[in-house]
Amino acid sequence: MRHFLLIIFIGIISWSCTDSDDPVDASDGFDRQAMLINWADNIIIPAYDAYNLSLAELSNSTNSFTENPSLETLTSLRSNWEVAYTSWQTVSMFEIGKAEELTLRDFTNVYPTNTGNIDNAISSGSYNLTLPSTRSQQGFPAINYLIHGLGTDQEIVDLYTSSESHKTYLNDLVNRLATLTGEVLADWQGDYRQTFVDRDGSDASSSVNKLINDFMFYYEKALRAGKVGIPAGIFSNTSLPDRIESLHQPELSKSLLQVALTSAENFFNGVHFDDNDQGMSLSEYLDFVNAISEGETLSRLINQQFESAQSAINGLDGNLMLQVETDNTSMLKAYDELQKNVVLMKVDMFQALNIKVDFVDADGD
């Protein structure tokens, strides 16, 4: 019935309005599927692949360390942890499909980590890391605590030399990350890639709609608020320097933020993960729908704002905890710059691309 009526209607309008085509708009429409293919094949899957490899390295060095705890193996473990944690920043925003089902982000990077629960779990030896209630005692922040937060380097080595239960817990955490990520990557390399690409429609469950919503949620909550706003005290009475990412290795916090922001910007511009080529992207899509405002294209405004946020962040200390404690004003400034892009993307971009936020009846008022 639906299609039958459509055919009748098209018949009527084609008959009544032939040859009045506006040459400017005589396009075949934006190829959303090509954009989805670019996202899947050139950004998401390669990024997960790289992240998965970095976890394999982390796994190896964790084994070496627990089999033979020494300052040397500890250093190697720490550096692989840094690489993997940094690599995580390039995939965290893609919480769709299997990652969404597994709530990958919540099992990977909830901070601050609950050191009390970790200590209890290690001493009791009873814990089930698949339970949602254990999210704050696993993932990178928990590993961070276990490899940086248990004393001086020598004390840590000594602890792992003597304590089997510490070894087990550390290995379990690393394995858990590897297992979850392996599942997500396998799904992308299996059927999900096609499902994702085929869902090129426009309803709320289409891939474009879903991923843009996920991306926006990530940018707003995990990146803007989590990495900058919360430590800077935006959402609390006072600043909370101990809420930074990578608390037990605070020197890493700024570079994690930088990688996260660059990854978000690259996703917006469709930049391939492996090289710097550009494919179909949100930026291009915005140009296609011709979202021009105040003489500037919206894509350009958003990119300029990404740059402003980058430069505000570049000026921060590598240790964001120190930054908050000594000069929170600069941290607040970085937040403001990140915030401006929430408005440009969530208000202007969502409107221009007609992204639906939720499925309920609406008549547009």
Binding site: G29, F30, L344, V347, K356, D363
Partner: protein
């Protein structure tokens, strides 16, 4: 009130159209309730949220926790009783009250068509829709009439005419006609529809939709009214509403309007429809053809007619109330609701609140997701009365968290019909010092643009 005795108000007609209307209406409402329930929307919209936005003056109407399901159950059962014509007056009053209660619980979900349902069911309270082909009429000869006053049926037509015509008038604005907004945003995103998808990318198609939509709304009630154009008009009604169903997420509304338009047809059509229904359920329609004519008690007739004329006068005037407010209607939304302004705006916003403790000077930005659902936050960000109510809620909440002398400020941006986002509310105004009223909210920043129109 001598008009009450004028010849028009003494004309009679067959009761079948009103009976058919009652059955369709009740059935549609039952389906709507079931649909709403089955999507889990009762839980999602009325039980999960921590906070609900009230209509001014109706702050006492709130969801009742799990008992909210009972309101929906009552509403659904009342709809069924209306369709059957079983204890009709009680059923339609119950339906009107329960449905309207549901709509008043949270204005986040406001839709013009819900308002239409409330008005229509209210009107139906006064009409003898159970006089024919109903359980009431079958069991009680005193209620059974084959003929009823013509104005009983015409009053429903008047309501439909108002709805369509005002919806058409509202489309006579520069955004809709000259810029094809917001259809220019909405239509192209339906690119994945078979056949139609590619057409919807073209500018001329979008303008065609805008203009024909406006002309349709303005003319359709009159085309339905005149016998010679009625059939064509009904075909247009079906095409138009099926198209809107395909293109936009507007739920049951298109079907309700299609079925409602049947009221314009002659009684013979409804008799055929009722005959079909009668055969389907193996009941007799003939028993209702008793030749009896319903004559209203003169006093009640006079009172009812006077009241309904007042009711329609309000309907005619209310949509123009925005005239008394300064500023752009689409921007301030002062006088926007209850005016048949359907699908006129694509509005998106962002609102971030800062709560300040006046004693300690402590400041805190609110995470809206702590209190509001995604849908509520979206609606709140673009409507000043929502913003104000929420700000006062934040004050109360933060007082319980130890804040004193609370001030609430907002950082907000809104984009309207494809325009670049602009700051919406004066960020220097303490919203706690403002209170809700029918007065103009002078803390809404100016639109600095003009949308010409009625």
């Amino acid at each position: 009130m001598s008009f009450v005795n004028s010849s028009y108000f003494n004309e009679t007609t067959k009761a079948a159209p009103l009976a058919a209307f009652r059955i369709f209406f009740g059935f549609m409402m039952l389906i709507s309730i079931i649909r709403f329930w089955s999507y889990g929307w009762i839980d999602k919209l009325y039980i999960q949220p921590r906070f609900f936005f009230s209509y001014y003056g109706f702050e006492f109407v709130k969801p009742l926790g799990s008992f909210t399901y009972i309101i929906f159950a009552i509403c659904g059962l009342a709809a069924l009783a209306v369709a059957l014509g079983f204890k009709y007056r009680l059923a339609i009053i119950t339906f009107f009250l329960s449905f309207t209660y549901i709509e008043l619980m949270d204005k986040t979900t406001y839709l013009n068509h819900y308002y239409f349902i409330s008005l229509l069911s209210f009107l139906m309270i006064f009409l003898p829709a159970h006089a024919y082909f109903s359980i009431d009429a079958k069991h009680n000869q005193n209620l059974s009439y084959q003929y009823i006053p013509k104005w009983n049926i015409d009053s429903i037509k008047v309501l439909l005419i108002i709805v369509y015509f005002y919806a058409g008038l509202a489309k006579l604005n520069s955004d809709w006609l000259l810029h094809a907004m917001p259809l220019r945003i909405w239509l192209p995103s339906n690119y994945d529809l078979p056949l139609l998808g590619d057409f919807l990318q073209k500018t001329w198609v979008i303008y065609l939709f805008s203009w024909s939509g406006a002309i349709y709304d303005l003319t359709i009630p009159f085309l339905l009214l005149y016998k010679r154009t009625r059939i064509v008009a009904f075909v247009l009604v079906v095409i138009f509403h099926v198209l809107t169903r395909v293109l936009f997420p507007i739920g049951m509304f298109p079907y309700i309007m299609i079925v409602s338009a049947l009221i314009f047809f002659d009684a013979s059509v409804h008799e055929k429809i009722l005959e079909r229904i009668a055969r389907l359920f193996k009941v007799s329609r003939k028993v209702f053809d008793n030749g009896k004519q319903l004559v209203w008690n003169p006093q009640i007739k006079k009172l009812t007619l006077s009241f309904l004329i007042f009711f329609f006068l309000v309907q005619v005037i209310l949509p123009f109330r925005h005239i008394v407010y300064p500023g752009e209607l689409f921007w301030t939304e002062e006088g926007y609701r209850f005016s048949w302004r359907v699908m006129l705006m694509e509005k998106a916003g962002y609102a971030s609140f800062q709560v300040v403790d006046g004693v300690t000077g402590n400041k805190q930005t609110v995470d809206n997701s702590e209190f509001l659902t995604v849908f509520q936050e979206k609606q709140m960000a673009t409507q000043p009365d929502f913003i104000l109510e929420y700000a006062h809620f934040l004050k109360d909440t933060f007082e319980t968290r130890g804040f004193s002398d609370v001030h609430v400020f907002i950082d907000s941006f809104v984009a309207l019909n494809g325009r670049r986002s602009k700051r919406y509310i004066d960020p220097t105004v303490d919203l706690i010092k403002q209170s809700e009223s029918f007065k103009h909210k002078n803390w809404i920043l100016p639109f600095n643009d003009e949308i010409k129109g009625i």
